[in-house]
């Protein structure tokens, strides 16, 4: 197999693009996809400071790597979820990456903010662990960005993540979720920062290949709570479709973004206000994060939750 650009021996084949690339041309292809995402959705400029949410996984570290190389003013944010050895290792990967690239890394502990780490949240809420975890991360990313005066948060969501989320929303016709599925969400309130996903044009395999070829030391192990998660099942279904018809995931997501999303956006009617407790943005009197923290702290007071480890 030969590189489409230079004719040298290829290192990776991309069936959905009917192309193969050598190492150098693949890395350039990858960076160009990120640049196109940033340009098309006006995600941020070189004059803005960008908070990059990093988990120690391939996607977020690949994203941070591209943004640093392209001269953006970035700060990393690692949210310590307190998920046993997985969090210890993933934090170490982020710290090592930041040190190697001379980049600034902020660390925030979910346990400090919510009153318990994700394993305790899981036990207290009796809901899937990703539920309280995702809620806490969304809240803390926004608040940390506001606290540090950063106008935008970039996350490492890739094409597979986005297609799987869309698939889940459509499977259950969660029409209220559809307008909010976008590569870039503008700030709609002074206390909500812009949220962008510069990797949405790139598949999971493509970000893994970039991280591997750039010798980025990322955590390969999955989160121990991810097993059995609905989104993983959706990704598996989509990958079977992709295998039968290369480009299926891309067509599904991009067709929605280009042709369908606007129709659902017109239906959205949401009034935002500030939480009576913490002042962050919510649709209710008290935000979901404060309710979760109350629940965890009440349980801790009654001695119910298990310890961190």
């Amino acid at each position: 197999m030969k590189c489409r650009k230079c004719g040298a021996s290829a290192t990776i084949e991309l069936r959905r693009h009917n192309a193969a690339f050598c190492v150098d041309d693949y890395l350039e292809f990858f960076r160009n996809q990120v640049r196109e995402a940033i340009r098309k959705h006006r995600m941020f400029t070189r004059d803005e400071r960008v908070l990059v949410a990093v988990s120690g996984g391939k996607d977020s570290l690949a994203l941070w790597d591209v943004l640093i190389d392209d001269g953006y003013d970035t700060t990393g944010l690692y949210l310590d979820l307190g998920i046993f050895d997985y969090s210890v290792e993933s934090k170490a990967k982020c710290e090592a990456f930041a040190a190697r690239r001379g980049a600034r890394l902020l660390v925030s502990r979910v346990a400090d903010e919510v009153g318990g780490p994700v394993p305790v949240i899981k036990q207290v809420t009796r809901r899937p662990p990703c539920s309280g975890c995702g809620l806490s991360k969304r809240y803390l990313m926004n608040r940390v960005a506001l606290d540090h005066g950063l106008p935008v948060v970039a996350t490492g969501h890739n094409l597979d993540d986005e297609a799987a989320t869309l698939f889940g929303s459509v499977m259950h016709w969660r029409t209220e979720a559809l307008p909010r599925q976008s590569p870039a969400l503008a700030s709609t309130h002074p206390k909500l920062v812009r949220r962008v996903k510069p990797l949405y044009r790139l598949s999971e395999r493509e970000t893994a290949a970039y991280a591997f070829l750039r010798r980025i030391d990322y955590i390969v192990e999955e989160c121990p709570f991810a097993a059995g998660a609905t989104s993983i099942a959706h990704k598996e279904v989509l990958n079977r479709m992709e295998d039968a018809s290369p480009g299926a995931k891309h067509n599904f997501l991009f067709g929605f973004l280009d042709k369908a999303r606007a129709a659902f956006e017109r239906l959205e009617d949401v009034t935002l206000q500030e939480c009576a407790r913490c002042g962050q943005v919510t649709t209710s009197t008290v935000c979901a994060f404060c309710k979760l923290a109350d629940q965890v702290k009440r349980a801790a007071g009654s001695g119910a939750p298990a310890p961190d480890r």
Binding site: R15, D59, P128, C130, D160, T188, T207, F212, L272
Partner: protein, 82 residues
Amino acid sequence: MKVVLRNPRREVEVAGNRRVKEVLRELDILPETVLVIRGDDLVTADQLLRDDDVIELRPVMSGGSASRSTPGVRGEPAKELA
């Protein structure tokens, strides 16, 4: 030929002198879901693997979520930090 699999880490022996895509098919692994690594390089599906090769099939899937988004506050029910 030795094949290293991850999550959990384990090793299996399969017959070599075949192309990557044939080995993946035997192991029932979709090409879209793994990086095929030999030493410091990635190998494409058409490449021939020798009997004395050691390859790693590194899964690329990550994340997890069973949550629905918080109404009104632009969450999405996917992993947050990839």
